[in-house]
């Protein structure tokens, strides 16, 4: 039965209705009478709650129709004939509204005939307009519901009484209790047409069905019993509840038949109501939840569906699936960005179905012949009749011969297969991308480094998930739409999100900075990593018979010949220097002005802005001109080239990279001392009342601001001094300036001054009375007492400096932890709100009903992926292309993620505090 491919079908309609007693009885497999479950031998009892024909749980086969356990028997409903009718909790709201808006005598609505006609008409109208009819129904109900008593029914003249409602299921009419029987009779009197106006489709949902006469019994498969290790059988919560219902029902029947006093019968009836209510929803307000023997409340039907662990979120919106794998990831620069390295062990276990046809029967035979243990082999052979045959070493040969078209085999995962690869949290669509399999030894998944940014993966122990696509359609869709190369540009900002990171960027720098020369052999060596096949150009210079090439030349060999760029890279801090001229040595001292002419890198150093993951001008330009596949090749090649370059000379760093000459250190110390003096001065001014208040700020605030400013400048100054003595030969500086890793701030903290620590934007304030630590005097407002760390990391921090530093660091960790949770909740809400919106063929954005949300996507019709960092058109480039001269791109406003982070974090925090937004899932039960 499994794996029978059925033709895809589209769902036509879904109709929700009520289950009436007749239907319940007809779908029931058996009537349930006894409250006993199993008999003495451990077998289920007839007419009891567990399997007389209700379903199978044990691998003991048999069931009414289906043999097998294996989920083949879906379970069958039973029914309990209730001694007396009972209200169904879930429909309370509806029952209440109907009672309140209809006459107690004739059952008609309490509206005049004309009003009723109007309602009908409006409903028709709304239906054709595709409006949400429920809105109308709710309005109707609201209007027609009467609060007080005394109204006269327009149709029969009966005076209505006030209908009150005690949760959870008692109705009172002006104090007099309405029994479920009364209610049922009343509901029977309601006319179908009017029921429609109140929200019930009379064809499938007769109002009286909201009062239960027959209780459907959920199949055994829905409430399986568990056998504990002690041998006892433990029943499911639902089964316990049903036992209660059954018992009371029995008693009620007996008592009523035997003619017991009214009171007893009523009591039992109420008890029955309680049990049935509780069976459906144990969290109903107003009634004590039914509890297990141990004291914990039972989990009944509605609890099974609700909340994060409920059916919808846990088992339907997301499920556990077969053909999936998960391991630790490790880097591999030698595979393409489209590839994923799969451990051999996984490849032997994850299979792909192959339908055997006359065209592939030979290939299929090979797979099966290899058997399950040798890759590439197969694990199962499925006959056309559905039987699955396990392939073993013994029968492999045999089975291979017996293969015929019409069979299906499950073959191992093989190089080139398309799989979905993902890292959680899956925040954007690039968190799941299609990759081509490459089976490799060892136990980790391997990915190319440049594909880390979209997944936000690092290799400190991260794990990722892999899903093997099973059908040809799926493979095709994934290959066309989801491959990594299709996602090189991010829909968020219209720029590349796949690109060089870390060492790749350092490598680019080392290769192309100024005058780096490589001998022919060396050059070829590096180029071989990029699988370079063509001819070398003319060497830049020849010395002693050896030809020498520049790094720029080598890099250019990978560039397409129609590439023309001119821009300033990150390396140069100035805004106005000229390109560096290799001959004259004039121009930007950092060689920071990148010029590419017809595919030749003429000037400039390759850094993060050129090939990096978030800016990558080269990648950006190439992908728009040459498309995804070409760019993929380029990225693969370029990263390998650049890594080869850095491995050629080697690259390392040590603490002595942050050494600065004594004289510089002295300068820094003097600077800081001067700042300290200024701070003391400011404090003195403050204390003596001489301090001038800044407009709009208090006196203390002004003082703090000025002090922070002073100390901040001191640190920056120290950083600058240190920076002057750290040149471009320094590996740490190379990494910082090229954008590979780290920043000049990091370096200045290591070499110069760590700086002022802050908690929530202010200097350290909290602590003992009038002072931070007991090491200081009360009232000390000086630099040291409030968290200024003068030492550098190399110098080492004093005990108080260390403590303040820990305080500042702690805030960062807390922030990250809290932010992750909050943003997750926000993301979920946004997604739930937006998930069924779609851009239609007419360009509008509509939801499933057809309502227009936007008349043009994004109000401008622009696909952000294809935009140029937010701008629809890159005018400069168009002009350049037309005119033939490369113009310099305007400096692009880069999004400073870090700055946003701290500002935003603060803002978000205060907003959320005020609005008190919490994720309801985080609230466990009362602790």
């Amino acid at each position: 039965m499994r794996n029978v491919a059925s033709t895809p079908k589209k769902i036509g309609d879904i109709q929700f209705g009520l289950l009436g007693p007749q239907e319940i009885r007809s779908m029931s497999a058996t009537k349930i009478i006894t409250a006993d479950t199993y008999d003495d031998d451990g077998f289920p009892i007839e007419m009891g709650l567990m399997d007389p024909r209700l379903g199978v749980i044990e691998p003991g086969l048999r069931c009414k129709t289906c043999g097998n356990t294996v989920g083949d028997c879906p379970g069958h409903f039973g029914h309990i004939d209730l001694a007396m009718p009972v209200i169904h909790v879930g429909y309370n709201w509806m029952i209440r509204n109907i009672l309140r808006s209809t006459c107690r005598n004739c059952g008609r609505m309490l509206a005049t005939d004309s009003e009723i006609e109007d309602y009908h008409a409006t409903m028709e109208e709304w239906r054709t307009q595709n409006r949400d009819v429920w809105e109308l129904i709710k309005k109707t109900i609201k209007k027609e519901t009467r609060g007080k008593s005394g109204h006269e029914c327009v149709h029969c003249g009966e005076i209505q009484k006030k209908v009150e409602f005690d949760k959870p299921s008692t109705y009172r009419e002006e104090g007099h209790k309405l029994t479920p029987v009364d209610i049922r009779e009343w509901l029977e009197r309601v006319r179908p047409e009017e029921a429609e106006l109140l929200g019930l489709n009379p064809d499938v949902a007769k109002p009286e069905w909201m009062v239960l006469t027959v209780m459907p019994v959920p199949p055994v498969t829905m409430r399986p019993s568990i056998t504990l290790e002690s041998g006892e059988r433990s029943e499911d919560d639902l089964t316990h509840k049903l036992v209660d219902v059954l018992r009371i029902n029995q008693r009620l029947q007996e008592n009523r038949d035997a003619g017991a006093p009214q009171l007893i019968v009523e009591d039992l009836w109420e008890l029955l109501q309680y049990h049935i209510t509780t069976c459906i929803d144990n969290e109903s307000s107003g009634i004590p939840p039914a509890r297990h023997r141990s004291g914990r409340p039972l989990k009944t039907l509605s609890q099974r569906l609700k909340g994060k662990e409920g059916r919808f979120r846990q088992n339907l919106s997301g499920k556990r699936v077969n053909f999936s794998a998960r391991t630790v990831i490790s880097p591999d620069p030698n595979i393409s960005i489209n590839d994923v390295g799969v451990p051999e062990a996984s490849a032997l276990e994850l299979t792909v179905p192959l339908n055997v046809t006359p065209y592939n029967i030979d290939v299929a035979r090979e797979f099966v012949k290899n058997g399950p243990k040798e890759h590439p082999g197969a694990n199962y052979v499925v006959r056309p009749d559905g039987r699955r045959l396990k392939v073993t070493e013994l029968n492999a040969e045999n089975l291979a011969l017996r293969l015929e078209p019409g069979y299906t085999i499950e073959r191992h995962l093989v190089d080139g297969d398309i799989v979905l690869f993902n890292r959680q949290p899956s925040l954007h669509r690039m968190s799941i991308m299609a990759h081509e399999v490459r089976v490799m030894p060892a136990k980790t998944f391997r990915i190319n480094l440049s594909v880390c940014p979209p997944y936000n993966a690092d290799f400190d122990g991260d794990e990722m998930n892999l899903h093997v696509l099973q059908s040809e359609e799926a493979r095709a869709e994934a290959k066309i739409l989801m491959r990594v190369q299709e996602h090189i540009l991010s829909p968020r900002f219209g720029g590349p999100i796949v690109g060089g990171i870390h060492d790749e960027v350092s490598g680019g720098f080392v290769l192309t900075h100024k005058h780096k020369h490589y001998a022919k052999k060396e050059a070829l060596d590096i180029l071989s990593r990029a699988r370079f096949q063509s001819e070398l150009p003319e060497p830049d210079k020849v010395e002693d018979g050896t030809e020498y090439f520049t790094g720029k030349q080598i890099f250019s060999l990978l560039l397409p010949s129609d590439l023309n760029l001119k821009y300033r890279s990150e390396i140069c801090p100035h805004k106005d220097c000229d390109p560096w001229d290799p001959e004259t040595g004039e121009g930007c001292e950092f060689d920071g002005y990148v010029v590419v002419e017809d595919g030749e890198l003429v000037a400039g150093t390759i850094d993060e802005k050129s090939i990096g993951a978030f800016q990558g001008e080269f990648i950006n330009r190439i992908i728009r001109r040459h498309g995804a596949s070409f760019t993929r090749e380029f990225i693969d090649r370029m990263t390998r080239l650049v890594l080869g370059a850095i491995m050629h000379d080697g690259f390392s760093t040590a603490i002595d990279d942050e050494d600065i000459p004594a004289q510089a250190q002295q300068q820094i110390d003097d600077n800081v001392q001067e700042a300290r003096d200024n701070v003391e001065d400011l404090i003195r001014q403050f204390e003596e009342g001489e301090l001038e208040q800044m407009p709009g700020r208090g006196l203390e605030e002004t003082l703090e601001l000025k002090i922070m400013q002073e100390l901040g400048e001191a640190r920056d100054q120290a950083g600058k001094i240190a920076g002057e003595h750290l040149g471009m030969e320094n590996p740490s500086v190379i990494m910082a300036r090229s954008g590979a890793r780290g920043s000049m701030l990091n370096l200045s903290q290591m070499a110069g001054v760590v700086g002022q620590q802050a908690v929530r934007g202010e200097r350290i304030t909290r602590g003992y009375e009038d002072r931070t630590l007991s090491h200081f005097e009360r009232g000390d407002l000086g630099a040291d007492a409030k968290g200024f760390v003068e030492s550098s990391y190399k110098d080492g921090l004093s005990p108080t400096e260390f403590f303040f530093h820990s305080m500042g660091g702690r805030e960062g960790l807390v922030d990250t932890a809290v932010r992750t949770a909050r943003s997750g909740y926000m993301q979920r809400r946004l997604i739930n709100a937006l998930e069924d919106l779609r851009v239609e063929y007419d360009g509008t954005v509509r939801n499933t009903v057809g309502t227009v949300i936007q008349f043009m996507y994004g109000e401008d019709g622009i696909d952000p992926t294809k935009s140029h960092r937010g701008k629809p058109v890159n005018v400069t480039q168009i002009v350049s292309d037309v005119v033939g001269e490369t113009a310099e791109d305007e400096p692009v406003e880069q999004v400073d993620e870090d700055a946003y982070d701290s500002q935003d974090a603060e803002l978000m925090r205060s907003l959320q505090d005020e609005m008190d937004i919490q994720n309801p899932d985080d609230f466990e039960g009362a602790e």
């Binding site: 908690v759 929530r760 350290i764 909290r766 602590g767 003992y768 931070t772 630590l773 007991s774 260390f802 403590f803 820990s806 305080m807 702690r810 805030e811 960790l813 807390v814 990250t816 932890a817 809290v818 949770a821 925090r909 919490q918 994720n919 985080d922 609230f923 466990e924 009362a926 602790e927």
Partner: protein, 525 residues
């Protein structure tokens, strides 16, 4: 520096705080718990089980805890070592013996010593079989440090094991220290209410395990309200103080006001009490309380409820006798004063993260709470058994009425599940034995009761008062960041002392006690 730290640990275990706390519990506190239990229907004096049998009551005697033993199938008993308990999945516990004195018609009879159950013993404590003094006693020897180490090795125990944990059914369980706000201390803060901020003074008043949060709030219109548990609405301060015994306007003002700026508010409150609530003296105040608590019930009952509220529920740390009501009134006055000081800007909010405002509940404290509840259960069961025996005309013997299971089961269940009295879960944790350091770190952990799901930014921050007490760096990443802390190297946890003892010491030293009236008439302290 190193020598100092080494010397420190020569004498102390890494888990010394747990061990000392537990020792205090077993040696001292357990007796006082027993002495303060009272079981019976109406007002029963402490230390007595009052049964429904005519004239029969049981008085509590002395309690003692033995050493862990094991009982074999053939009946022989022997001393149990922790290692054997770990290997054989046994519980490392010792029998508890208690003296019961049956009192018939006021005449005390022979005390009976009964085994009332088993108390889990902490490894390394004063009742542990491998503790140095105990071991020396058991083996009739005297050891140097090295000899002690070797002897432990011979017994297959780890000499470097920190101890400080229990063994329940073979698994080692740590009662992780809880960090909580200091009880019986008035703290003022602002309360945020969708717009305005009001000032409130709170006290976590605690006595014998019963904990009540009493607060005095200054509302937006200036009225001072008292909030007391079990009273669903707030009660005007002045009314309450009148009910407690401060009747005249002068007395009230003197108890609250220290600064002229406070006068208008206080006078307004007093006037309110007179005009709006019609309360001008103590009886009217008590009636007011009664009406608020149980309006519509009989007059007698109302008065009873009011008095019970004042004695038992309000400020229990000051006593539950009617004689102490005046003290409570003065205390309420002090609370009001703090609120007004805050409102006028004469004071700052109390810093709830300042360690001076925090107390640590160690293993001993937790066991005390657990024992108190479990023993009360046992006492109730004894009462029930006695009454049953009596109705069946059997001999009334305490030893037959005691079911040792009741106590032992409860203690063990809490210890093994981590679900403690008071609703907290995760109190007892499986000792982390990943590495030697892991165990050391685990026993020195301090946990905040605040909810993990809430941000609680300020509670998670590193506070300067943690210097030298809690590690600035060791805290988990993620939702527990900053809420789970670890003790610093040389941290010692000081003991709490009973107020009584301090007071006695002070009197001994020559301090003269004041009368309450002098206090209300005098200045602030």
């Amino acid at each position: 520096m190193r020598e100092l730290v080494n010397a420190f640990f020569d004498e102390r275990s890494a888990a010394q705080h747990h061990i000392s706390s537990y020792n205090d519990f077993v040696d001292n506190w357990i007796q006082s718990v027993v002495d303060n239990i009272s079981v019976g229907d109406d007002e029963v004096p402490d230390g007595i089980i009052q049964t429904d049998v005519e004239g029969y009551k049981i008085k509590m005697g002395s309690i003692r805890v033995g050493r862990p033993q094991r009982k074999e199938a053939d009946g022989s008993t022997d001393y149990l070592t922790p290692m054997e308990a770990r290997l054989r999945d046994m519980t490392y516990d010792a029998p508890i013996f208690m003296e019961f004195i049956p009192v018939l018609e006021g005449i005390e009879h022979e005390p009976e010593e009964v085994n009332i159950g088993n108390l889990p013993i902490m490894v390394g404590s004063s009742r542990c079989n491998i503790e140095k003094d105990n071991l020396e006693e058991l083996q009739n020897a005297s050891y140097t440090h090295e000899e002690y180490y070797q002897e432990l090795q011979r017994l297959q125990e780890d000499p470097l094991d920190p101890g400080g944990y229990f063994i329940a059914n073979g698994s080692e369980r740590v009662l992780v220290s809880l960090e909580d706000l200091a009880p019986n201390k008035v703290m003022v803060e602002f309360k945020k209410r969708y717009g305005r901020q009001v000032e409130v003074a709170k006290v976590f008043s605690q006595r014998n395990g019963y904990r009540a949060l009493i607060s005095v709030e200054k509302k937006r219109d200036g009225s001072l309200m008292v909030d007391v548990p079990n009273a669903s609405n707030q009660i005007p301060l002045i009314v309450f103080m009148r009910a407690l015994g401060l009747q005249t306007d002068e007395e009230l003002v003197k108890a609250i006001v220290t600064h002229p700026d406070m006068m208008p508010t206080v006078l307004a409150n007093i006037e309110d009490a007179r005009e709006e609530h019609d309360v001008a003296d103590r009886d009217e105040a008590i009636e007011f309380l009664g009406r608020k608590l149980a309006g519509g019930q009989a007059r007698e009952y109302r008065r009873q409820r009011a008095e019970s509220l004042m004695d038992r529920t309000l400020l229990p740390h000051l006593g539950h006798d009617p004689a102490e009501r005046l003290k409570k009134a003065v205390y309420l006055g002090r609370m009001a004063r703090s609120v007004l000081e805050l409102a006028q800007g004469r004071n700052e909010e109390d810093d709830k993260d300042h360690y001076a405002n925090k107390r640590i509940k160690l293993a001993g404290n937790l066991m005390e709470d657990l024992f108190r509840v479990s023993f009360t259960q046992l006492a109730k069961d004894i009462k029930y058994q006695i009454e049953r025996a009596h109705s069946r005309n059997r001999e009334l013997k305490v030893s037959t009425a005691v079911r040792s299971d009741v106590l032992s089961q409860r203690l063990l269940h809490a210890l093994s599940t981590g679900n403690w009295v008071g609703g907290r879960s995760g109190v007892s944790q499986l000792l982390d034995r990943t590495a030697a350091l892991a165990a050391y770190s685990h026993v020195r952990r301090v946990v905040s009761p605040l909810a993990r799901s809430q941000p609680h930014f300020e509670a998670r921050d590193l506070h300067p008062t943690q210097w030298g007490r809690l590690c600035p760096n060791e805290t988990p990443e993620g939702p527990n960041c900053g809420l789970v802390k670890n003790m610093a190297l040389t941290t010692e946890v000081s003991e709490g002392a009973e107020g009584e003892d301090i007071r006695h010491s002070l009197y001994d030293l020559g301090v003269e006690p004041l009368e309450v009236s002098e206090v209300t008439g005098g200045d602030d302290e």
